[in-house]
C-alpha cells in the first residue's frame, strides 16, 4: 500500500538517517509514554515506529485509531505526525469503518486491548471483520484490564489466579480463532517479547488489502506478569513456539536466496510484496481456513503458545470494493460531485407532483 522500499541502502545525497520519504526515525515517534515501565504495549509502540520508518510510510497515509485502555492510549506514543483518534471503550471498529469509507487513501492502524476488543467491543470486532475494512487491527493482549487495575478480561485463562481479581472460571476467548471464524483474511499471533516477529508481521499487515488482525501477547507488568500466567513475559519467553520464521519482502527484485524445496512458503500480497515463511518444526500452510482453526483448537487443548501468521486469504473483497466506491476519497469529492444540479431537483419535484 503506502510503503516504499527502504531496504536498498541510502540514496545519494541523503543523510543516512533519512528514509525514502525523507524522514528521520524521530519523525515517527510520539509523545513520551505514560505507561508503566516495562509494559509490553510500549515495546509494540517501538516496533510500530521502526516499521513505519523502515517502510518509509508518509505519516499522512496512516491514521491511528484506538478504543480505551492502557493499550488504547499508546497511539499517543508513536507516529506524532499522523492523525489519531482515541475513541470509546470497545467502539473503535465502527469509528474506523466510518473513517475508512470517508477516505480510502490512508490506512487505519488501530490499537486495542483484550478488554476493549474481547469484552465490551466483541460485537463490533466481529462485525468489522465481516466487512473486511482495510486496516491493521492490533490487539495488545495481556489478559487483564490494565487501566482499571487488574480485573480479568475475556482472554484470561480459565483457572488463572490473580492477587486482586481472584480466580477466573470462564473459558478464554481466542481472538484469532474468532477472527478466522468471521473470515478475516489476515490473522496472526505474536508476542511483544519477540520484536523481530512483531516487526515483520506489522510490515505484512500494513501491506495486506483488508483487515489484518495482530493478536500480540503484551504483558501487563503491573497486574499480570507472574510466571504462571500465559500472558506474562516469563511464560512467553519460555513457551513461544513459532510456526515459521517470517520475513516481509518489500519488492520482487530483492535478492532471493535459494532455499531447499519445501522449506519455504511465499505468500505474495496483492500489491507486490511477499511474505516469506520459513519452515521450522511444523509443517503448516496458513492458507487453509479449516487447518488454521484446527491448529488453534489443538493449541488450546495442549496449551501451546503458537505465534506467526495463522491464516491468510486474499480472496474477499474489501468494504470499499463491496461499496463500489470511486477511487477518489469521498472527502475529496467536490461540491459538483456531491450536490446534484438544480435541474435534478426540478425533476424529482415533477415526479412528486
Amino acid at each position: 500500500m503506502v510503503a516504499t522500499t527502504a531496504t536498498k541502502g541510502v540514496p545519494e545525497g541523503r543523510s543516512e538517517k533519512l528514509n525514502l520519504v525523507g524522514l528521520e526515525k524521530s519523525d515517527y515517534r510520539g509523545a513520551p509514554s505514560t505507561l508503566c515501565q516495562g509494559c509490553g504495549h510500549d515495546s509494540i509502540s517501538s516496533q510500530i515506529i521502526n516499521v513505519a520508518f523502515e517502510l518509509s510510510i508518509p505519516p499522512h497515509k496512516i491514521v491511528k485509531m484506538s478504543g480505551i485502555g492502557c493499550s488504547s492510549k499508546s497511539p499517543a506514543y508513536f507516529l506524532n505526525r499522523s492523525h489519531g483518534f482515541n475513541t470509546l471503550h470497545g467502539r473503535m471498529p465502527s469509528v474506523v469503518t466510518g473513517a475508512a469509507l470517508a477516505n480510502r487513501s490512508f490506512r487505519p492502524l488501530a490499537v486495542s486491548g483484550d478488554g476493549d476488543t474481547g469484552s465490551i467491543g466483541f460485537g463490533q470486532y466481529k462485525h468489522l471483520l465481516r466487512r473486511n475494512v482495510p486496516m491493521v487491527y492490533i490487539i495488545e493482549n495481556n489478559g487483564v484490564y490494565g487501566l482499571t487495575k487488574g480485573q480479568f478480561s475475556a482472554t484470561a485463562d480459565v483457572g488463572q489466579h490473580l492477587k486482586y481479581a481472584g480466580l477466573n472460571e470462564l473459558p478464554p476467548i481466542d481472538l484469532c480463532l474468532e477472527a478466522i471464524a468471521c473470515d478475516c483474511g489476515f490473522v496472526a499471533r505474536s508476542f511483544a517479547g519477540d520484536a523481530k516477529q512483531v516487526r515483520e508481521l506489522l510490515k505484512a499487515a500494513l501491506n495486506y488489502e483488508g483487515t489484518a488482525v495482530l493478536d500480540i501477547i503484551s504483558p501487563c507488568v503491573t497486574f499480570n506478569n507472574h510466571e504462571d500466567s500465559t500472558k506474562s513475559y516469563p511464560y512467553g519467553k519460555a513457551n513461544e513456539e513459532k510456526l515459521h520464521d517470517i520475513t516481509f519482502i518489500q519488492s520482487f527484485e530483492e535478492v532471493k536466496v535459494d532455499y531447499e524445496p519445501g522449506t519455504m512458503i511465499d505468500v505474495q500480497l496483492h500489491d507486490g510484496p511477499t511474505i516469506q515463511l520459513k519452515k521450522l518444526e511444523r509443517e503448516y500452510d496458513p492458507t487453509n481456513k479449516k487447518a488454521a482453526i484446527q491448529l488453534l483448537l489443538e493449541a488450546q487443548e495442549k496449551r501451546e503458545f503458537l505465534t506467526g501468521l495463522l491464516y491468510i486469504n486474499q480472496t474477499r473483497p474489501t468494504l470499499q470494493k463491496v461499496q463500489k466506491l470511486t477511487e477518489t476519497p469521498l472527502v475529496h469529492l467536490n461540491e459538483q460531485s456531491i450536490r446534484p444540479a438544480r435541474e435534478a431537483l426540478d425533476k424529482v419535484m415533477a415526479e412528486f407532483a
Binding site: 519523525d27 509523545a31 508518509p58 505519516p59 499522512h60 491514521v63 491511528k64 497511539p75 499517543a76 506524532n80 505526525r81 499522523s82 492523525h83 489519531g84 483518534f85 482515541n86 475513541t87 470509546l88 467502539r91 471498529p93 465502527s94 469509528v95 474506523v96 469503518t97 466510518g98 473513517a99 475508512a100 469509507l101 470517508a102 477516505n103 487513501s105 490512508f106 460485537g123 463490533q124 462485525h127 466487512r131 468494504l319 470499499q320 461499496q323 463500489k324 466506491l325 470511486t326 477511487e327 477518489t328 476519497p329 469521498l330 472527502v331 469529492l333 461540491e335 460531485s337 456531491i338 450536490r339 446534484p340 438544480r342 435534478a344 431537483l345 424529482v348 419535484m349 412528486f352 407532483a353
Partner: protein, 612 residues
C-alpha cells in the same frame, strides 16, 4: 327528486335531497395490514389531490407485519386544513375484526361502506350504509386467486368514486403513477374499479351528502412524505457516508437514500459511487461510523428512532466533546422504551438536547413541514461542519411516514459551508496552529483532516481532557476553559440555527409556542379560536438552542402556551428556563396518545385554561 336530474351520468342514484358537503370531510378506511390496501388508500388521496382538493392522509398501522387492524384516514378540506380530525364522516369498514367498533364511532349522519358478506351485530339507523358485493365482483373479474385480496380493495375505490364523484381518469392516472407505468397491474386494478363503478351506478342509491368536486387549490404542489424529503435533502446536502440500523419509523429514510442516491448522484468518472451506505450491526455502530467519517471530513449521517437514540448516548457525548460533525435524524415514535413503534410522538426533545452524561447540550432541529424536512436535510450538514458537532434532526412518524402536500422544495441558495478546515496551504501560511484554540472568538476552532500532508497538521482526537493544542491534560484550568469555550460555541449556534417562524397578532394576549408536526392542528385551532373571539399569536420553534426572538415573543404576550406531543411537556421546560422571569406565565399543553394532535384538542385546551 329535483336534484337528481342534474346529476351527470357518472353519478349514482340519489335518494333524498340534502345539503351537500363538498370537499370538507374525512374518510377512514379500516382494513387489515399486509392486505395491500395501501395502494387503494393512497390512490384515493392522490386522486383528490389531483382534482385540486387539499388532502391529507394518515396511516394508523400496528406494529406487526400482517393481519392486524389498520386505519387510514383521508381528510379533504377546501380550506386547506391538514390536521387530523377526531371524527371521520365516511367509514370504509373492510376489517371484520374492528367493524363493530368502527361503526359505533361513526358520527350520526355518517356513511359506512362495507363488504356485503359482513354483518353488523349492532346496526345503526342514523348513518348511511352501503353494502358492496366485494367477493362477487372480484370473482367475476377472474383475477388470479392469489391476487384476490389485493385487488379486492379496488372495490371500495370504485364505490367511493361513484358515491363521491371521483374522476375515473384521475384514478387511472394515479394507478399509472403508483405502478410506474406497469400496464398489467394498472389494468387489473382498473378492471375492478370499472366493474364496481358499473355495479354502483346500477345499484347504489346515494343517500348521503358528501361529494368531491374539482377545485384549484393544489396546483403546483407536490405530495411527499417527510422521510423521503429528508433523504433527498441529505443528498442535496452532499451526504457521502450513511450508516444506519433498521427501526420503525425511521427505516424509510434510508430506503429513500438507497433509492434516490443512485438516481441523483450517478457514478463518478471511474464508475465508482460518491457515497457509501452501510447497514450497521446496531445503533452504537451506526453512530460510530458517522463519527469516524465525520472526523475524517465526510458528510455523514444516520437515522433512527428513540431506542436507537438511547444507544447513541455515549457517542453523542464524544461527538460533542471531541467536536466531530455528524447528522443524526430521530424519527420520533412513542416512548419510553420500545413503546408504540408505529405511533407518533415528540418525546425525545430532552433526550436529544442533553444526550450524554456530564455536561452536554446539543444542537437540535425541528422540521415542521415537508419543505423543512428537505431543507434541514442539507442544512444540518452545513451546521454540523460549521459547528463541528453532532446535529440532531427531530422529525416524527407523522411527518416522516405520512404523505403530505407541499410546495416544491427550494434548491439550496448558497454553496455548502464546509466549516473551518485548514489545508496544507493554510498551515504553510500560519506556521502553527492549535486544534482547540479559539482564534475567532466564536468558540469554534480550526481542524485539519487526516490525510493532510503538512507536517504540522496531525493532532490526536480524544474524549479525555485536552488543552488548546489537543494535548492530554488533567489541569483544572484547561478543563474549565475548554468547557467555557464549548458553551460559547453553543451560544454561537443560537445565532446559526433556523429562527422560529412567528405569526404575530397584535391583538393577541395569548402566545402559542410549538414545534414540528403540530403545525396543522395549531393553524386550524387558531382559526377556530379567532372565530370564537380568541386572538392568538403563534411561534413555531425550529431549533435548539433557543434564541432571542423567542424572548421577544414571550415579552409581547401575557399568557403563553407551549404545545407539544409528549407527556412531560419537555419543550415547555426549556422555554421556561429560557426566560425564568416569565416562567410562571408559560403553561404547558402536552398530550401524547400516539395520534397526531387535532385542532379541536388544541382549541379546547386553550379555552379551558383561558376559562372561556
Amino acid at each position: 327528486m329535483g336534484m337528481l336530474d342534474v346529476l351527470e351520468e357518472t353519478a349514482p342514484k340519489q335518494a333524498k335531497g340534502q345539503d351537500e358537503v363538498i370537499n370538507d370531510f374525512t374518510m377512514v378506511i379500516a382494513t387489515v395490514n399486509g392486505s395491500g390496501s395501501q395502494t387503494a388508500n393512497s390512490l384515493l388521496a392522490r386522486t383528490a389531490f389531483k382534482m385540486g382538493v387539499p388532502v391529507s392522509s394518515k396511516n394508523l398501522f400496528p406494529s406487526n407485519i400482517s393481519g392486524l387492524p389498520t386505519w387510514y384516514t383521508i381528510r379533504l378540506s377546501k380550506h386547506g386544513y391538514t390536521a387530523r380530525r377526531d371524527d371521520s364522516e365516511i367509514l370504509v369498514a373492510f376489517n371484520p375484526a374492528t367493524a363493530e367498533e368502527d361503526l359505533a364511532s361513526l358520527p350520526a349522519g355518517g356513511v359506512c361502506i362495507y363488504p356485503a358478506d359482513m354483518k353488523f351485530q349492532v346496526p345503526r339507523d342514523d348513518v348511511t350504509l352501503y353494502a358492496l358485493p366485494v367477493k362477487d365482483i372480484v370473482k367475476r373479474s377472474e383475477v388470479d386467486p392469489k391476487l384476490r385480496d389485493l385487488v379486492g380493495n379496488m372495490v371500495y375505490v370504485g364505490a367511493l368514486a361513484v358515491l363521491l364523484g371521483l374522476d375515473i381518469a384521475e384514478l387511472e392516472a394515479g394507478l399509472n403513477h403508483h405502478f410506474k407505468g406497469k400496464a398489467r397491474a394498472v389494468e387489473l386494478n382498473m378492471n375492478i374499479i370499472h366493474m364496481t363503478v358499473e355495479w354502483a351506478r346500477e345499484n347504489l342509491v346515494k343517500s348521503d351528502p358528501y361529494r368531491i368536486e374539482r377545485m384549484d387549490s393544489t396546483k403546483g404542489l407536490i405530495m411527499v412524505d417527510g422521510n423521503t424529503a429528508g433523504a433527498i435533502g441529505a443528498i442535496f446536502g452532499g451526504v457521502t457516508v450513511g450508516a444506519w440500523y433498521p427501526i420503525t419509523p425511521s427505516t424509510s429514510l434510508f430506503d429513500a437514500l438507497a433509492e434516490y442516491l443512485p438516481k441523483l448522484r450517478p457514478s463518478e468518472a471511474d464508475g465508482g459511487t460518491s457515497y457509501a451506505i452501510v447497514q450497521a450491526e446496531d445503533e452504537l455502530a451506526a453512530i460510530g461510523m458517522v463519527m469516524g467519517a465525520g472526523w475524517a471530513g465526510a458528510r455523514a449521517m444516520t437515522s433512527t428512532s428513540g431506542p436507537g437514540i438511547s444507544l447513541m448516548t455515549e457517542f453523542a457525548g464524544l461527538g460533542y466533546f471531541a467536536e466531530i460533525p455528524g447528522v443524526i435524524w430521530d424519527i420520533q415514535r412513542v416512548g419510553p422504551s420500545t413503546g408504540l413503534p408505529t405511533r407518533t410522538s415528540q418525546g425525545d426533545i430532552l433526550a436529544a438536547y442533553y444526550l450524554g452524561h456530564g455536561d452536554t447540550k446539543h444542537v437540535v432541529l425541528f422540521p415542521g413541514t415537508m419543505k423543512e424536512c428537505f431543507e434541514f436535510g442539507w442544512r444540518a450538514f452545513d451546521l454540523a461542519e460549521r459547528l463541528q458537532t453532532p446535529i440532531f434532526v427531530l422529525s416524527d412518524l407523522d411527518l416522516g411516514m405520512n404523505t403530505w402536500m407541499s410546495e416544491p422544495f427550494d434548491y439550496p441558495e448558497k454553496p455548502m459551508d464546509r466549516g473551518k478546515v485548514l489545508t496544507e496551504e493554510d498551515l504553510n501560511r500560519l506556521g502553527s496552529w492549535g486544534r482547540y484554540e479559539d482564534v475567532d472568538g466564536d468558540g469554534i476552532t480550526y481542524r485539519t483532516l487526516p490525510g493532510n500532508k503538512h507536517p504540522l497538521s496531525a493532532y490526536f482526537t480524544r474524549g479525555t481532557g485536552h488543552n488548546p493544542r489537543a494535548v492530554y491534560s488533567e489541569r483544572p484550568d484547561d478543563w474549565e476553559q475548554n468547557l467555557a469555550r464549548l458553551e460559547k460555541k453553543h451560544n454561537t449556534a443560537r445565532g446559526l440555527v433556523p429562527k422560529p417562524v412567528v405569526e404575530r397578532n397584535e391583538a393577541a394576549e395569548i402566545g402559542i409556542i410549538s414545534l414540528g408536526s403540530t403545525d396543522p392542528a395549531i393553524q386550524e385551532a387558531r382559526d377556530l379560536l379567532k372565530a370564537g373571539g380568541v386572538e392568538t399569536s403563534y411561534l413555531r420553534l425550529r431549533a435548539l438552542p433557543l434564541e432571542d426572538s423567542l424572548k421577544d415573543f414571550i415579552g409581547q404576550h401575557k399568557r403563553l402556551y407551549v404545545i407539544e406531543v409528549n407527556s412531560q411537556g419537555q419543550m415547555h421546560t426549556l422555554v421556561q428556563l429560557h426566560m425564568p422571569e416569565r416562567a410562571a406565565d408559560i403553561k404547558s399543553i402536552a398530550h401524547l396518545d400516539g395520534l397526531p394532535l387535532t385542532a379541536s384538542f388544541v382549541e379546547c385546551e386553550i379555552l379551558e385554561r383561558e376559562k372561556i
